[in-house]
Symmetry: C2
Amino acid sequence: MRRSEIRNHLLETALRLFNEHGYHATGVDLIIAEAGVAKTTLYRHFETKEDLILAALERRDEEDRYAMRAFVDAHATDPLGRLLATFDFLEAAVDDQRFRGCIFVSAAGEHKETVDPVFRAAVLHKRLTLAYFEELAYAARLVEPKRIAAEIHLLHEGAMVVAQMSRTAEPVRQAREMARKLLDTAGQSSTPRIPAQRAPADRI
Amino acid sequence: MRRSEIRNHLLETALRLFNEHGYHATGVDLIIAEAGVAKTTLYRHFETKEDLILAALERRDEEDRYAMRAFVDAHATDPLGRLLATFDFLEAAVDDQRFRGCIFVSAAGEHKETVDPVFRAAVLHKRLTLAYFEELAYAARLVEPKRIAAEIHLLHEGAMVVAQMSRTAEPVRQAREMARKLLDTAGQSSTPRIPAQRAPADRI
DNA sequence: GCAAAACGATACAGATCGGTATACAAACCT
DNA sequence: AGGTTTGTATACCGATCTGTATCGTTTTGC
């Protein structure tokens, strides 16, 4: 295994174990055993366990938001449909048998001090996710994009927590339906209408 | 301190520390130090730390649901207003400076196995809370009480998680507004109309 | 091809974990 | 009043925690 591969492998192993057992309950001895790596090696790549946690969360944050973007782009073209497609992405994640709740919410739950770097990393992920929803809401020309995005975000979080307990994807489908109704009654700025422009735009 | 007082004191101390630092991060040595009690005493009241956690969650579950009922009864008379008042109760809880997220969600986040007694205790609390929402939805004669109750529940969970990260009560107010709109468009069975009966009922 | 860096294996440090043992004082019940 | 229970205090158990030190081997970069 090359050096860069080891780092990747350690991050992936740690993320899997953090997701399975939580952060405090996952010792570095377990991580190195599962990764098949010496303890010295782990501590050459990461100064402390907290650094490993932070790097793992950062990695997961990027992966997760990139994957959501890719999924949404592949499953919907119009901005409103894209906002709804985020729930389909979430449903797929929840349907995965490895789903055990949002690792960022769990991280914040185990590191509750607002100055704790782990807590801050979790908050950052949520802020960036919210920013993506705002981006979609702006693109949909909603009259209150920030408010709608915050509502979508709240529905995502609620669906994830309820799904964490029920271990079914039903809450996600319900949240999607709530979002659909919400978007139905949300006002759209009428300047250049999307449907009126779609035909020529599709040809470009 | 009498025997029953010690048990209460231990449960309250443990709940405070679990809320502040989480479950794994709170050792029994810290609990007994903060409670001002010998270790032998703790283990005479609770067989294991897990038993203490379970007893603490059970205690908090009952307190919490009782307090919500009392608050709701005191702040609203009509069933629809009661469903909304649950958010006012939540807002007060979140506004408390000690709020660090839902302790049941954190408990489930640290004990992820569905067979883990702690996980099951967390799930039970959520199920009982949902049952209360259903009770209110039935009383409001909504045409789909279970669906509405589940939606209210999802909004509660979402608001709590977002508030856990933002450390403000704004998400709760937003969730309340979402619930208000949701109830506005929700159908009510028209048999004995509440407004038609309210005047005489108020005099009794 | 050779020095430097990174690796694995192991042993260990010092602290903390949940839980027990022991001995003795205080409070309770009949 | 006296025996049982429940409390405090303290020392201890073995296991586990994060992190380091040592040392020989393998890989890497120039």
